[in-house]
Symmetry: C2
Subunit: 270 residues, 2 copies
């Protein structure tokens, strides 16, 4: 293959567009998003995501595997661009870049894409109106570790393709199926499949660990600031709470999600 | 009381010293640390921490309770300094300041300070060589929520008084007793009190949820990059693992700590 194109001027229109992709509107117009960092790009390639472009700057590389990653991305269809150190620092989103920044296509999954494999008991996480990208990314990691088949994001405040979601998820965004859907349709879909919904709220009487979390299950978590909406509080099959020993808000939504999901994992062990 | 002193020049030696406190050496030399933000300062005052200084800038205030907080801090002994908006932005550690930044005295607790109240079963978290301040702060929140009597920080890489620990802990640093101690002394102290140590490691055979986590207990967590040291792997009474469904590193150390602590909480319910 020919050597990668070199870009030296920050006035280059590609770099200007790259910086614009930090904004949701630009991302949505172009139908793409930013994937920064070795681990995140590696996971994208593992999941056969075809990267449109991959910008790199060897001066920032942290390890020795970067050339292999570049070759793999190029072989899979990515166009490579080499940048000088200073220019890369300008387009990188992170404070401490590792010299790798890709542009990947966005995708949209729907509930209909979520057919569970035969013999697998449905196990979903529903998050409502999460505000902080970092929390959403952490929640995706927890759902992945717990073996959720998908995360259903209802009435999102945060864009799934926000760079901080990608970063906080450490690339798990590429492996856990995520569906963005409004709550009425999500509930109808779950009910149609006889999947029980368990809402987590400090106002519940019963403890999450006293509830039966086996069988087809969707755990429902509310937003950081407002908790669960009346819609889910009213329509969920069960409401549970996590006991809190310390300060009222010691647990954030990501921690509460992980505690509840892993209690379900424990109960669901064969 | 007289109105607070106003500082308008960034050349003011107090402000220069304030910025220096971001560095550990300056913090340790002065025996103080930075506490930024309404919630964090509120919690410090609740725990009767005597703030040395409190810098504020009403242009950044987010709510209406700040004047009451200032009055409370001043009554408790803090010296107040008012800054113009731009100067405050320069000394603030956060990207989005809320106009409140305090200097608080550091403290040192020792194992001998950790006498458990009578009738309370010992329940501790031990963390080893945690590297990221954000993880350490999140771990403190989890330990607070789970009702740990203290966190023992062994062979620390991260300074407990790092501004990012204070921030990620949302001020829980002021309520959960933390002891910095080397591992040999920590182990001897635990053994002397017949407190069982349970190490969490992916290499263990048994699941954390199959272990008996009742009775006097210390959960031991390793560092992000290297996991637990041989010392704890060899000397802990039991080693357990958390089952992982997804990517190998979906769970970080803070999430693993919270999962293990809350399984202990579940088992220890009366």
């Amino acid at each position: 293959m020919p050597p990668p194109e070199k870009i030296t001027s920050l006035q280059n229109p590609r770099l200007k567009q790259l910086v614009k992709l930090r904004d949701r509107r630009s991302r949505d117009e172009a139908g793409v998003f930013l994937v920064e960092g070795y681990r995140e790009i590696f996971r994208a390639l593992e999941k056969r995501v075809v990267l449109h472009e991959l910008y790199f700057s060897p001066d920032w590389f942290l390890g020795e595997n970067e050339p292999a990653l570049l070759a793999r991305a190029e072989a899979a269809g990515a166009k490579l661009f080499e940048l000088p150190k200073e220019a890369f620092a300008k387009v990188a989103y992170r404070d401490r870049p590792d010299g790798l920044l890709a542009v990947a296509p966005q995708w949209r999954r729907t509930l209909e894409d979520l057919a569970a494999p035969p013999g697998v008991t449905p196990f979903f996480l529903i998050v409502e109106a999460i505000e902080k990208p970092g929390n959403l990314g952490t929640i995706l990691r927890g759902a992945d570790a717990a073996g959720c088949q998908a995360v259903i994001v209802c009435d999102p405040v945060t864009d799934l393709f926000n760079p901080n979601v990608v970063r906080a998820s450490t690339g798990v965004l590429f492996s856990v199926p995520c569906v963005v859907e409004d709550r009425e349709r999500a509930l109808a879909w779950l009910r149609g499949r006889k999947i029980r919904t368990v809402a987590t709220t400090p106002a519940a009487e019963g403890l999450y660990s006293d509830a039966d979390l086996r069988g087809p299950l969707a755990v429902v978590m509310g937003s950081e600031q407002y908790g669960l909406s009346d819609f889910w509080l009213k329509n969920a099959d069960l409401a549970v709470r996590i006991p809190m020993a310390g300060q009222a808000d010691s647990l954030n939504v990501a921690m509460a999600a992980i505690i509840t999901l892993f209690e379900a994992v424990r109960q669901r062990q064969p």
